[in-house]
């Protein structure tokens, strides 16, 4: 043992100096070269050398094989393989990038206390007919006349409108203004250019385009006679005739047009007074085991439905919530629907409309309401589904509508419906100069009526046609909202009150209604409505990005690693070698050439040129020996020559280093 240590000691003493001895010349040369060489750049003299060096030393797997393999075919194969791998990497990475903005959907269910939605209830009939009668008397009279002329309808023999008869006689002599303005016409299918006027009963020629309301979608050819009305623009040069397959539709549409005209001139306050009050509409109200009354409802005036009442609106202090499912814990109301006050031409059904919506949402009662029948209990069970979409760049939806170039004329949160209506209304104000009655007023505009805008109806119809045909661009500009709550309703009906309970229930309800109405309530004047959560399971459908930037990078890493065992370091290497180094090599060569050219121009022609030629050849074939041998000879003329030497030196050193390294284990 002692001897071994001795030996070890000796060797140890011998070794430490040797690295210094070896290193010293290297350092010296390096320092020398550095001093001589002002250009710091690539260490290979030519691009070929550089490539070779790269292929041998890079960490990617293909390149080394190209250099190392023997035989042309094998080398070619390796070149092909490497190129294929590179191509595959590019292709796969392109696929990864192109599918980056995809979403994954998750559906979650929570059982929790749920906010009760806002519930808007409207009577289908907007205004008490007794209150609006004097406004609509002329119109009613003319409608009746038209009905009489066309269908032989017995004038004014309807059930409870005896007082109207006196009006009829009073208006007999006056000039009919509504029919004159927008004449109702009957066409026979064969001769569309001839039409019978309702007012006079005479046939008259109709010019202008005839638009069949129904025939666009469904071909109705069976009826011999079609009814329609003619709308003309101000100068009466342009006219359009709208026809309907049924007189019912034609007359209702015609009536509605005039009705809107008249109501547009009535101030809002008066309209609210003409409609139903909350106390009148709601007989009883019960929510979650607690009594509620008219104070829990907020008024919302809808142009076509009159006074509507919203339960649980945000204007009330807190949003009510339900912590139990079932009809007992929901909203239960009994509505008073007085059929006697119904407008015979405007509405032809009886009942109420109810809509369930978010507190900040505008209730589009005319579009998506659920109708409630009288003498029935309507029980509506709800399920809440919340959806969240990802906005740009995943989809075209909008978070709050601020990035949609349409100003929201509704005092409510953005929705696609609001956007479309706002868009139409804005266009209407732009084109026709006045606003359509059934939508809110944009700033600095007023509703259309024929006193101020005599030809608005023609304009409106034209615009509406264009809107439906998506010519106004509203549909392309408006985008859907990113998040929305949806209540799925399950509606079922039952008879109410039951035969046996009717006897006691109706008098008590009459007492509850109190002095609002003087008469005893009838079964058909009442409707019961129950709205409740079926269960407190809330489904949320959420989109989340399927890919994150980390995922993308790791997928890149997977691809690069799979095909070539490459990494970002390799990419940097490639950039370094292929761009920076090779460009500087080229630049250096150009610089040399320029210098030579300069030198040749100034130096006397002679043997010098041949020297340069030799140099050029040398540049092409930079073997180790030539690189070593050359510099001493033309050292004075070409200052650029040193790099090759330095480079090759370094190159060789790297190899020898590696060689010894790899040989080490072999030796032992």
């Amino acid at each position: 043992m002692g001897t071994t240590l001795h030996i070890l000691l000796h060797i140890k003493l011998a070794w430490p100096s040797s690295p210094i001895l070896i290193m010293a010349p290297g350092e010296k040369i390096k320092a020398k070269i550095k001093k001589n060489l002002p250009v710091t750049g690539p260490q290979a003299p030519t691009i070929k050398e550089l490539m070779r060096w790269y292929c041998l030393n890079t960490n990617t797997h293909g390149c080394r094989r190209i250099v190392v393999s023997r035989g042309r075919l094998r080398r070619l194969l390796w070149v092909l393989f490497t190129l294929t791998a590179v191509a595959l990497i590019f292709w796969q990475c392109a696929l990864l990038i192109s599918s980056f903005y995809t979403v994954s959907v998750s559906i979650k269910v929570h059982f929790q206390k749920l906010d009760f939605p806002a519930v808007t209830i409207c009577n289908i009939n907007p205004y008490k007919y007794s209150a609006v009668r004097d406004l609509l008397a002329d119109l009613e009279q003319e409608t009746r006349t038209a009905l009489k002329n066309l269908y032989g309808f017995p004038e004014n023999k309807s059930r409870k409108r005896r007082e109207a008869e006196s009006w009829t006689s009073a208006w007999e002599g006056t000039q009919p203004k509504f029919l004159k303005l927008v004449p109702l016409l009957a066409f026979s299918q064969d001769e569309t250019s001839k039409a019978r006027d309702f007012l006079t009963g005479r046939k008259r020629k109709v010019s202008g385009s005839i638009i069949h309301k129904a025939s666009d979608v469904m071909h109705v050819h069976e009826s011999k006679e079609v009814v329609g009305f003619q709308l003309c623009s101000n100068d009466t040069s342009k006219c359009a005739v709208y026809t309907f397959s049924s007189g019912v539709n034609a007359i209702q549409e015609w009536y509605k047009l005039h009705y809107m005209n008249i109501m547009a001139q009535v101030p809002l306050e008066k309209k609210i007074n003409m409609s139903y009050s909350a106390e009148e509409l709601l007989v009883t109200c019960f929510f979650d085991g607690m009594s509620c009354d008219a104070r829990n409802f907020t008024l919302f005036h809808h142009p076509m439905y009159g006074n509507c009442y919203t339960f649980n609106n945000r204007e009330n202090e807190t949003i009510l919530s339900t912590s139990m499912g079932g009809s007992e814990y929901g909203l239960q109301v009994i509505l008073y629907i007085n059929e006697e006050e119904y407008n015979p031409f405007l509405v032809s059904s009886t009942g109420a409309k109810v809509i369930v919506h978010r507190q900040d949402e505008y209730p589009f009662i005319e579009d998506i309401g659920t109708e409630i029948e009288t003498a029935m209990a309507t029980s509506i069970g709800m399920h809440l589904t919340e959806s969240f979409k990802l906005s740009e760049p995943y989809s075209q939806c909008t978070e709050d509508g601020s990035d949609v170039p349409i100003s929201n004329i509704y005092n409510a949160a953005y929705s696609l419906q609001i956007c479309l209506h706002s868009c139409f209304q804005t266009k209407m104000v732009e084109k026709c100069g006045c606003a359509q009655y059934s939508q809110p007023l944009p700033p600095a505009a007023n509703y259309c009526n024929y006193q101020q805008h005599p030809n608005w109806m023609y304009c409106y119809y034209q615009l509406h046609q264009a809107f439906v045909r998506e010519e106004l661009g509203c549909q392309s500009v408006c985008r859907e909202a990113c998040s929305f709550k949806e209540w799925t309703l399950t509606t079922s009906l039952a008879q109410w009150p039951s035969e046996v309970s009717e006897k006691w229930l109706l008098p008590v309800l009459t007492w509850d209604q109190g002095q609002q109405i003087k008469k005893k309530l009838n079964k058909t004047d009442l409707a019961k409505l129950l709205i409740f959560y079926k269960d407190l399971n809330q489904r949320s459908i959420m989109e989340s990005p399927a890919n994150s930037i980390e995922m993308l990078l790791s997928n890149f890493g997977g691809q690069l690693g799979l095909w070539m065992s490459c990494s970002v370091v390799c990419v940097i290497e490639i950039i370094e070698v292929f761009f920076i180094d090779s460009f500087s090599i080229i630049a250096r060569r150009q610089w040399h050439k320029a210098k030579e050219w300069w030198a040749r121009r100034h130096a006397p022609p002679g043997p010098q040129g041949q020297d340069n030629l030799g140099l050029d050849i040398d540049d092409d074939l930079p073997t180790f020996t030539s690189a070593l041998r050359l510099p001493p000879a033309p050292g004075t003329e070409v200052p650029g020559t040193p790099p090759p030497r330095y480079n090759t030196l370094r190159l060789e050193r790297a190899f020898s280093d590696q060689l010894t390294d790899t040989q080490m284990p072999a030796e032992s």
Binding site: W15, A494, Q513, N537, S554, G557
Partner: protein, 636 residues
């Protein structure tokens, strides 16, 4: 000595690393590792070296950070969802059918006689206070209304509301004369506890609601004292309710229905519950292959004050689940045919740790009272059980509408005079509901039956006559028509063209996902793999070894210096010292008879006390392998 030698050998073997100084080790590592960055640090010039060093450092930190991100994502237990829609043969849902009225009035009349009379008197007093007080009051039976009386609160003077007892005979003179309307007067229920000393009023804005609630409370009180068997007999029997039944082409009858007593709706009948026999499958969409039922709800025999809505109540639910028909049931109207197209909307979730749901309710801290029915867990059952639990704890009796735990009794006025007060407090309590919601977990598998409901008049005018004849004959064996439009209900329940929509959860990120992403990141930035990590670990171990060796050497040198200081004589020559370091035989001479053995208290613990690590280290520096093998060979 042997052990020492062995330990020395082990040490040598273990320590046989690539280098013997930190620098060597690092250089060797950088040169030989497979990760891409470090190699370039070594073989480039100083500027590039710095650059590559920075790049490598940057990439390493990037990799670490992104690994953190991925591990965090993995531990968030996200799920991905797959949705499937289509038609397949499925078990037909269980169909529960009830009548809106729980009992036949003709059979419960004797129980409700007093209450009904009282109710009528109350209504009379509310509607026409002037006339009724004189004649009606004498008939009132005072046994029931002592507990929760109805009162009329006159709010004409808002500061001094006048309370009028609707049952009292002796009113102060002003009250009966005054007419009271809904605007001025409110009907309220007086709820008292502790022998009538603490009272509250439960106000109602409508008299209709007040009298209904009051009647319900009193009826509950009456029915809770009646044994269950009698209640079942008072309800609608299956043969009266279910007139005809057809499942696909197969005829069925009321015998195919399982009877269950529901406190709200009396006798309910469940078709295809799957409790005793296998559930019936349905292999075809369309009304022809569904369940067709004709029911008679017998509207004439309804309890007049208990329910004001007439119709059949029905609900579709899963096999072996309890029907919570009051929450999820729908109405079917008499005199109509109700067609119900069914879509089974199933949600299958993964349990812990992906979501907080429960598979069978065994991990919920609430005792399921509905387990007596052998039904599966549902959150509704849990919440009701929880409520009943609270009720028993607070009011010491169970509510009639919920099942009773063993050894408890239902609430009634006689035994628990305060229960109505207690119950109404508990029912209004938000805290109670929230504790129940927090305690109960939703079940992982949630099935909803989406219904498309449509209605038509049935029977038609033309067919009415013969249909009623046939059905009357079948049920009552009478030639007269015993049925009417007001009672008859037709139901068609069938699968839609697409009868299922299944949403299934699966783990979004599994361990394979995690590993491939970790590998991807490491590979992307540095071209590394798990082997590189092992390499790195090896280097770290070497590092530790070198440190240990250095420390040992340091300790040695320290001790030696101290020992030198202790020498009394002249300092030892260099040759002596060299000898001391190298020669083992030399050492015991010094250590053995040394001046003070106490100065080396840890002598025994050190493996090679005499050999100073520095020389040992440097010895192994360069042609290590050769020497190593030499020394080993020598040792052997």
């Amino acid at each position: 000595m042997h052990i020492k030698k062995y330990l020395l050998k082990c040490l040598h073997r273990l320590q046989k690393g690539p280098g013997y100084t930190y620098k060597e080790l690092l250089v060797w590592y950088c040169n030989n590792t497979n990760t891409h960055g470090p190699k370039r640090i070594i073989c480039e010039g100083p500027k590039k070296k710095a650059m590559w060093f920075l790049i490598t450092l940057l990439f390493t930190s990037l990799v670490c950070w992104e690994w953190g991100v991925f591990i965090k994502t993995y531990l968030s237990w996200e799920v991905s969802v797959s949705l499937s829609i289509g038609f397949k043969t499925m078990d037909f849902p269980a169909v529960t059918i009830c009548n809106a009225s729980p009992f036949q009035y003709s059979k419960v009349k004797h129980l409700l006689k007093d209450l009904d009379e009282l109710m009528e008197a109350v209504l009379e007093r509310i509607l026409a206070p002037e006339q009724s007080y004189g004649n009606a009051s004498k008939a009132l039976n005072s046994t029931i209304w002592n507990y929760t009386p109805l009162v009329l609160i006159d709010e004409q003077n808002p500061h001094h509301p006048v309370v009028l007892d609707l049952f009292g005979d002796n009113h102060n003179g002003s009250a009966p004369g005054r007419t009271c309307t809904a605007q001025a007067c409110k009907v309220a229920m007086r709820l008292c506890s502790l022998n009538g000393t603490v009272c509250t009023f439960r106000n109602f804005t409508s008299a209709t609601r007040a009298v209904t609630e009051w009647y319900l409370l009193q009826a509950t009180n009456i029915f809770s004292q009646v044994p269950n068997q009698e209640l079942v007999e008072m309800g609608y029997p299956a043969e009266r309710l279910i007139l005809a039944c057809l499942f696909g082409p197969e005829p069925c009858s009321y015998r195919n229905f399982t009877s269950i007593f529901h406190p709200d709706y009396g006798n309910c009948y469940i078709f295809n519950w799957g409790m005793t026999e296998k559930a019936l499958p349905s292999a075809n969409p369309g009304a022809e292959f569904g369940l067709k039922l004709i029911l008679d709800i017998g509207q004439d025999d309804y309890v007049p004050f208990l329910t004001s809505t007439a119709g059949a109540r029905l609900m579709l639910h899963e096999q072996r689940s309890y029907p919570f028909i009051k929450d999820e049931g729908i109405y079917a109207m008499s005199g109509t045919e109700t067609s119900i197209g069914v879509l089974v909307d199933k949600l299958e979730r993964k349990g812990e740790p992906y979501s907080q749901c429960t598979m069978n309710g065994s991990d919920v801290p609430v005792r399921n009272l509905y387990s007596d029915y052998n039904t599966t867990y549902s959150i509704q059952a849990c919440i009701r059980s929880c409520f009943q639990d609270h009720m028993i704890r607070n009011c010491s009796c169970g509510h009639y509408l919920y099942p009773l735990p063993r050894g408890q009794r239902y609430c009634n006025n006689r035994e628990f005079p305060d229960w109505a007060y207690c119950y109404s407090h508990l029912r209004m309590s938000v805290a109670q509901r929230e504790t129940c919601i927090n305690m109960c977990k939703e079940s992982c598998n949630d099935t909803q039956y989406k219904m498309t409901i449509s209605m038509a008049d049935w029977p038609s005018e033309a067919s009415e006559d013969w249909i009623f004849h046939v059905l009357s004959q079948e049920r009552d064996q009478s030639t007269n028509i015993t049925l009417s439009r007001k009672g008859i209900v037709k139901l068609n329940i069938y699968f839609q063209e697409f009868n299922y929509r299944t949403i299934e959860e699966s783990a979004a990120n599994n361990i394979v996902w995690l590993l491939s992403n970790l590998g991807g990141q490491f590979g992307f930035w540095m071209g590394g793999s798990v082997l590189c990590l092992i390499e790195f670990g090896e280097i770290l171990i070497d590092f530790v070894w070198i440190t240990i060796i250095k420390l040992v050497a340091f300790a040695k040198s320290l001790r030696q210096r101290r020992a030198q200081a202790c020498y009394a004589g002249p300092p030892p020559t260099v040759a002596e010292l060299v000898e001391a370091h190298t020669n083992f035989s030399f050492e015991p001479d010094v250590a053995g008879p040394g001046p003070d053995p106490g100065t080396y208290p840890d002598e025994q613990t050190l493996p090679i006390p005499g050999t100073p690590p520095p020389n040992y280290d440097s010895l192994r520096l360069q042609p290590l392998d050769v020497i190593e093998s030499d020394s080993e060979g020598d040792a052997v």
